[in-house]
Symmetry: C2
Subunit: 272 residues, 2 copies
């Protein structure tokens, strides 16, 4: 989620002291510095690689509907002996990371997240049928509990991904799905779910296959405002989650290691 | 390797038809389209993550000694409710990929490399002691054979990394190690080695912990001109290879999935 179109509501929400105190409270026990260093209880193994990354190009759809990536050829084989481009990138575009510092003054930037926080057991929650019926669907704590009934309790330091099937809309207006008033309609996590994952589980990262951790019509951005200030990261705009098993895969988040980055385009794989 | 300081020699080399024909010949049997789809013969497993990526910042040393990355804050918590930066990046900077298209007119760009070509068995060749004595050291086919004597034949579709220990110089002038005439002195692969890995083995990627696949004083860029036109990729500026076992780890190359990229900053991990 990013840039144009929502900073007024975020500022309004930030100024509601009660809400923000609540969010900080939820995160306090899991502040970035207090996060357990993820350690693997047992060896992870895999036989195949699933690319969870969309190809990024200048017309990739964005939250604010403004271009956020430019690629300019500055050296060429014909003239210079080799090809080189210059990129201009507004960080939150494409399949990308939201680092804690995106929504917090002193939160960890993308480069400060340790590698061990970016390679995690992956739980994929399938809400595609629900999202098909209701594009504003929000993944609930009950969806998490249903996954746990089938697959066992979420492992500590897991990454939880919402598979809403929305990646298939990436080349069409349905990806933003804006109505006549400009309000977008796509699925996301419910604010109660990010609080649940912070308070009741010890999850490290969340992933959506849409433009925002919060669903399209969100006015309070509660998921962003609870999850990121708690020292956690999110991935927006993931692809191919439908190819992943519900449990047993490992997500590898090739996030940007650029000093001070608040997130940015990432290469994300699942090893299954 | 990139940008200023070498395009004249590359052009000169490209115009030497005999050499280029030789390079194309070496690559022909392994052209990008003819590369075997890497498949895992057996499950890979791991218990720890090693970050092979340096933190990229505006003053990161570059081949041409010119700044190639700029980070500008364009939105802030205080004013806008959240933080966002704009990046301007010349592709070949930091820990980064050289895609085939960096040195070929019709070679695969970074986004066109399949995920399965970016997650590979990692062989780490330790030449740190040799590089300590001779900063112009070039990793030879004999170094590969010595590794094989101890570890068995290089697996098909492997990635071969040169650990010269040069990553420890990254914050100092020793990383470029330019002499009074501006000629750089750091280790790289020998041109005979890239030909050996193409003709005698079926290796998919190579990695160096220095600024170029070719060693610092190279005038013919033979490694670039044999390896990349054969549909292979390279990683330059890797970190922490000394923490990897010589065999048994898996490299995960989080290369940029930006349309038409000739390579670029990548997040690279070893899973061991």
């Amino acid at each position: 989620m990013c840039v144009a179109g929502c900073h007024e509501v975020v500022m309004r929400t930030l100024s509601r002291r009660g809400f923000f105190k609540g969010a900080a409270g939820a995160g306090a026990a899991f502040a970035a510095s207090a996060l357990p260093a993820p350690a693997m209880a047992q060896a992870a193994s895999f036989t195949r690689v699933i690319d969870l990354t969309h190809t990024l190009e200048p017309h990739f759809p964005t939250f604010g509907n403004e271009q956020q990536v430019w690629v300019d050829k500055i050296l060429s084989i014909e003239k210079d002996g080799y090809n080189v481009n210059k990129w201009t990138i507004i960080e939150h575009v494409g399949t990308h990371m939201d680092a804690p510092s995106h929504f917090t003054k002193d939160g960890a930037s993308a480069d400060a997240l340790p590698a061990s926080a970016l390679v995690l057991p992956l739980a994929v929650i399938d809400v595609a049928a629900k999202a098909e019926k209701d594009p504003d669907y929000q993944l609930t704590p009950d969806d998490i509990r249903a996954w746990e009934s089938a697959n066992g309790r979420l492992p500590d330091t897991a990454c939880v991904a919402m598979n809403s099937g929305w990646d298939r809309h990436v080349g069409t207006p349905k990806f933003r799905n804006a109505d006549a008033q400009g309000v977008m309609h796509f699925p996301g996590f419910h604010g109660e779910t990010s609080e649940f994952l912070l308070k009741e589980r010890r999850v490290q990262g969340i992933v959506v296959d849409t433009l925002s951790l919060d669903h399209g019509p969100s006015k309070d951005f509660k998921v962003h405002l609870t999850w990121l200030p708690a020292g956690r990261w999110g991935i927006e705009g993931a692809a191919n989650l439908g190819q992943c098993p519900p449990k047993g895969a490992t997500i590898v988040v090739g996030g940007p290691k650029i000093k001070g980055a608040t997130g940015g385009p990432s290469r994300v794989f699942a090893l299954a």
